[in-house]
Symmetry: C2
Subunit: 323 residues, 2 copies
C-alpha cells in the first residue's frame, strides 16, 4: 500500500456514478448490476485448511456460473514436471498451423485449477483459434511461490521440445498474466529462446499494489477488490522481485512483442499501463488496448466489447505467425 503525506490526500466527496451510455446495451446491462460478488471472508494466512475450503467453494461457484461454452476440442493431458498441461486442439484450427498458445489461467493465484482450467482452457483456445497448452499449475496454500512459476517454466521447456520458440505465444489473464510475464522473464534469464509474443490481459503486474487505480477505481470495478491471496502466494518473498511483480523487471535485456489489455474501470488499469510503459521504455513493441467502462473482468464475455478484445488478441496472434 502507498504511504504518503496526509496533507497530500485528495478528498473526493461521495458520488453517484450513472451507467454510461457510451458502451453497448449488453455492457450497460452488466454495469447496471453493480458489484458482481460479495467479498468473501478471507481466512488468516496461516490457516491452510480454511483456505482450501474457501478455494473449493469459490471454484465450485465459478464452475456453476460458467460451466463452459460447450466448444468442441480434443484435449490431451501431458504430465509436465510436478504439474500437468492440457494440450487443447479446438475445432477450427487450420491444418498446418503449428502455433501454440501457452495459456496460464487466472484466479488470483489460488483459483481456476483442475476442472476450471479445462473448461476455461477449451473456451479460450476456441476463441483465439489456435492450439493451446493450458497449464494446470500448483497453487497455495499447499504450493506457494515459486511453485506456479516453476510449473509454467517447465511447461514452456516441454513445449520447446515440440515447437520452435517462434511458434509459441505465452499469455494469460490477471494472475495468469503475472505468471506469463514472469515465465518469459525467467526463461530469458535462464537462456531459453523467447516466444514470438506475450498476451497480458489485465495483468496483476505489481503485487505491492502501488498502482493508482487500486485506489481510484476501487468500488468502480465490479469484480476485483484487494484480497490477501497474492500474499498467500508470495509466502514472505520480496513482493518487488520481478518474478512476483513483473512491472519491476528489466526489459532492456530482451522481451518479446506484447499486447496488453484493460478497461477504464479496471483496478489493474495502472498495472497494465505501467507494464506497457516499462516495455516501451525498453523499446519492446507493445500494443495497449483499453475498453470504455470495463472492469477487471470486462463484461463477463456477454458484450460485443469482449468480442473486440478477442479480435485484438487474434490479430496479435496472426502477427506472431512464423513467416
Amino acid at each position: 500500500m502507498t504511504t504518503s503525506d496526509a496533507r497530500a490526500m485528495l478528498r473526493l466527496p461521495a458520488r453517484e456514478i450513472p451507467v454510461p451510455t457510451s458502451v453497448s446495451e449488453q455492457a450497460r446491462a452488466i454495469l447496471a448490476l453493480g458489484p458482481l460478488f460479495a467479498t468473501p471472508q478471507w481466512p488468516p494466512l496461516d490457516d491452510p485448511e480454511a483456505w482450501r475450503a474457501l478455494i473449493a467453494e469459490l471454484d465450485g461457484t465459478a464452475l456453476r456460473m460458467a460451466p463452459g461454452s460447450g466448444a468442441h476440442a480434443e484435449v490431451e493431458e501431458i504430465p509436465v514436471g510436478r504439474a500437468r498441461v492440457l494440450a487443447i486442439t479446438p475445432d477450427g484450427v487450420e491444418p498446418g498451423d503449428r502455433r501454440v498458445y501457452l495459456e496460464i489461467h487466472g484466479g488470483a493465484f489460488i483459483q481456476g485449477g483442475g476442472e476450471l482450467c479445462r473448461t476455461r482452457g477449451i473456451d479460450n483456445a476456441y476463441r483465439v483459434g489456435v492450439h493451446s497448452w493450458s497449464v494446470d499449475y500448483r497453487m497455495p496454500p499447499d504450493h506457494p511461490f515459486p511453485a506456479a512459476l516453476d510449473d509454467c517454466l517447465a511447461a514452456y521447456r516441454a513445449l520447446l521440445e515440440r515447437r520452435d520458440a517462434g511458434e509459441i505465444v505465452v499469455g494469460g489473464v490477471s494472475a495468469g498474466a503475472n505468471l506469463a510475464a514472469a515465465t518469459v522473464l525467467r526463461a530469458r534469464d535462464e537462456g531459453l529462446p523467447l516466444p514470438a509474443g506475450v498476451v497480458l490481459a489485465t495483468p496483476a503486474a505489481d503485487l505491492t499494489e502501488s498502482g493508482d487505480t487500486w485506489q481510484t477505481n476501487l468500488g468502480l470495478d465490479n469484480l476485483l477488490a484487494p484480497s490477501p491471496a497474492p500474499l498467500l502466494y508470495a509466502a514472505g518473498h520480496d513482493l518487488r522481485d520481478p518474478y512476483l511483480s513483473p512491472v519491476f523487471g528489466d526489459f532492456t535485456a530482451g522481451f518479446p512483442p506484447a499486447i496488453l489489455l484493460s478497461g477504464t474501470r479496471d483496478v489493474l488499469l495502472s498495472d497494465t499501463v505501467r507494464l506497457h510503459r516499462a516495455l516501451r521504455a525498453a523499446d519492446v513493441p507493445a500494443d495497449l488496448h483499453v475498453w470504455e467502462a470495463a472492469s477487471h473482468g470486462g463484461f463477463l464475455g456477454r458484450a460485443p466489447e469482449d468480442d473486440e478484445r478477442t479480435r485484438e488478441i487474434r490479430r496479435f496472434l496472426a502477427r506472431c505467425r512464423p513467416a
Copy 2:
C-alpha cells in the same frame, strides 16, 4: 450528459486518495498540489462581452504561468483563408527533412490563440523536432463552429500546395486533437489526400460528454472539469456531428495511422480509448499510450513522464517519415 435509471446508480462513498508512489518524484510533487485551478465563473452563453473578458484573463494567466521555454526557432507568418498560420522551423531540424507537423492548439475551443499559439507552437515544434505549422484559428464567441474547422482545413489545403500529403502529420492536444481528427475526416470527405499520420493527445472526441471518465475521474483530474466552452463553440449544432465529436465518425472510409495519448486520471481517458476503439474497429493502425496517474494536462511538462510522451510522439513521427 448521461441519463440513466436511478436504480442503476453506483454509489461511491467519500474517499481520500493518496499520492501514488508509482510515479516519478516530480509527478508526485505535482499530484500533491491537488486541483491546479479554481473553476472560473462561466458567463451565460449569450453574453459574448463577458466571454471575451474571461478568455483574455485566462490567456493572460496562461502566458504568465508558462511564458515559453525560450526555444529558438524561425517563425514565418502565413495568411491562410481568414486566419493565419505560424510556420515554425525550430533549431535542430535536419536539413532535408521535409516533414511538417500541422499543429492545432488546444484550449477548450476558446483559449490558446495569438501570442499563446506562438509560444506554445514554438515549444511544441522544438520538442517534436520537425517543421511545424501552428494554426491560429478563429474562435468563439465571435467565430463559433465551423470557423475553427474551416481555418484548419484551409491550412491543410495550403500546406498541400507545398508538401506531399505523405510529408504531413496533423496533430493536437485536447480541443486541438478534436480539431485535428475533424480536419482529417473533413479532408477525406472532400476528397483531399490523407496525411501520413495523426497525433491525438487527450482528445475531446465527444462533446456530448458521454464518456464514463467524465464521471469517474471528476475531481481526480487536477486540470479539467466540465465547462460550457464546447457548447459556445458548437453554437447549437448537433453535438453528435462527427465534425464536432469525431468519436462518432465513420473511419472505415479511410483514416491515417494515429497515436493516441492519455492518463489514468484524465477525464478524457474515455474519449481517448473510445476513439482508439473506433479506429481499431475500422482496422486503422492506432497506438494507445496511457500514463499512470496523469490528468488531462499530464504533469505540466515537469516530469519525466511528460518526456516519455514526447518520445512516443517522436517515434511515431519517425515512422511517418516518407521512404
